[in-house]
């Protein structure tokens, strides 16, 4: 798997380049800017810093930690206890033991609680890194995602709770609120739009949803860190002038199941590299 990693980075660049190529950018100045950004991405993709997060995440997975001093190697990510390979491609999904639909990050928290004996608030207290402060969850999620590279996204929407999560996510996607009247759909229901020079994916369009959903977690150059899907949603709500979204909340899960419906079928290429 490790030997595949440098190669696996290239399809992502090709997809990103194709994405930019068919995004209509009026005017030469915007074309040139997009080209320059693409060159920069290409240069960095050959040595994606996210690999450091993957390696650290793998070490955390096997390390004996927490009050119970055990590893996460028996954690069930949906394909059976200890099966990491391919698990990320089939998340979020329903878990009988928690009786909840969970994404990768929510499930990692559950395993830290049930296997390692962490208190839930301790397991969740540092979900996003900051300068000088690592996040174990960012590293673990990077590792888990990397073990699904090249596999097709296939998050199940079959169990009654999975179907319900999809329906709630759909409701929330179109829900306008706050001082600016923003909904997720304000920016993500149409194709070929931009904020400033940033292209906006139409998340109900399978082609665009797949390109986005399969590339989180990603190393974000602008933030100097790997960021996860939980962070992406938190960051969207920040920009929407909504409050801080709780980590691993049911709202986050519902939105992810809604997005996964359109992203299913896309090939996982995470952790990727983004602006």
């Amino acid at each position: 798997m490790r030997t595949n990693r440098p190669r696996a980075a290239f399809p992502g660049v090709a997809i990103a380049a194709a994405f930019l190529a068919w995004t209509p950018l009026p005017g030469n100045a915007q074309d040139r800017t997009a080209e320059e950004i693409e060159k920069y991405r290409r240069a960095l993709a050959e040595g994606n810093p996210a690999e450091l997060w993957e390696v650290r995440g793998e070490a955390l997975w096997v390390a004996k930690r927490g009050p119970n001093n055990v590893s996460l190697e028996k954690c069930d990510l949906g394909l059976g206890a200890g099966v990491v390979k391919g698990a990320y491609a089939e998340l979020p999904r329903y878990f009988a033991d928690t009786d909840k639909v969970q994404d990768a990050e929510s499930r990692l928290v559950s395993c830290m609680v049930t296997l390692q004996g962490f208190k839930e608030e301790d397991a969740k207290k540092n979900p996003f890194s900051a300068p000088g402060r690592h996040s174990d969850l960012e590293a673990l999620t990077s590792y888990v995602a990397s073990e699904s590279k090249g596999m097709k996204m296939n998050a199940p929407i079959r169990h009654a709770k999975e179907i319900e999560a999809f329906e709630l996510g759909e409701y929330l996607f179109y829900r306008r609120a706050g001082p600016h009247d923003f909904a997720c759909s304000t920016c993500h229901a149409d194709t070929g739009k931009r904020i400033r020079l940033q292209e906006l994916p139409q998340l109900t369009n399978p082609k665009e949803a797949q390109q986005v959903f399969t590339t989180w977690p990603a190393y974000r150059v602008s933030q100097g860190s790997v960021r996860t899907m939980q962070h992406r949603l938190y960051d969207c709500y920040w920009q929407m002038r909504h409050p801080q979204l709780d980590y691993a909340s049911d709202t986050a899960t519902a939105l992810m199941v809604f997005l996964a419906k359109y992203a299913n079928g896309g090939e996982v290429n995470a952790p990727a590299l983004k602006r």
Partner: protein, 208 residues
């Protein structure tokens, strides 16, 4: 009436395609609203209150996000028109240079935008619109506003329309993506005037 029937038909198609759980619209709404509220349990509670409680226009625009019936359009545009407060001094235009700064500035009302009580919110117009041709980094969620005043005429009617549109865009276009900058308290009256000047002053770079 036609629009209503189309909405019902659309919902039926979605129910089949989206593998309905049998949740009624009311149950779905109640559960979604509950998890949304719970999802902001640790966040800024003043902000949460403003997000959890939708106003009538927000609720209607959410409900009819994919198919907006004509009678709802009329209802929203009428109620929003009544919210517009035109300046008491009758002056609709401020300083385009200040308007340009407001158009560039995206600061304000995010949960990290704290600790600067004297700093005014920005309008962030360039996030969605082309305005002055010198600024190449503009978004396309909204239409280009380059040469706005020049192409429409520097008249009182157009100035009044622009002031009202910035103050409350939903009065003219129900459920538009554009925030209601005056009505929602994002921009002050003076700031709205300055942005009107950016679009309507013959000396503004937008009209060059």
């Amino acid at each position: 009436m036609k629009a209503r029937i189309m909405v019902v038909a659309g919902a039926a198609v979605l129910a089949v395609a989206g593998c309905a759980t049998g949740l009624s619209d009311g149950e779905r709404q109640a559960r979604a609203e509950k998890i949304l509220k719970e999802g902001f349990s640790k966040g800024n509670q003043a902000m949460a209150a403003r997000v959890v409680q939708q106003d009538e226009a927000q609720a209607l625009c959410s409900k009819y996000a994919r198919a907006l019936p004509k009678d709802v359009v009329a209802k929203i545009e009428q109620s929003q028109q009544a919210t517009i407060k035109y300046p008491a001094d009758g002056k609709l235009m401020g300083d385009w240079k200040e308007g340009e700064k407001i158009a560039q500035d995206g600061w304000g009302l995010r949960f990290t935008d704290t600790g600067q009580p004297d700093r005014k919110n920005g309008g962030n117009c360039y996030a969605c619109h082309q305005l002055a041709p010198q600024e190449l980094s503009y978004g396309t969620l909204g239409p280009s506003l380059y040469q706005f005043g020049k192409s429409r005429g520097y008249t009182d009617e157009v100035r009044k329309y622009v002031y009202g549109k910035i103050y409350n865009a939903e009065a003219f276009s129900a459920c538009t993506s554009m925030p209601r900058f005056g009505h929602s308290g994002i921009l002050t009256e003076q700031q709205v005037k300055d942005v009107v000047a950016l679009l309507m002053d013959p000396n503004s770079p937008v009209n060059k």
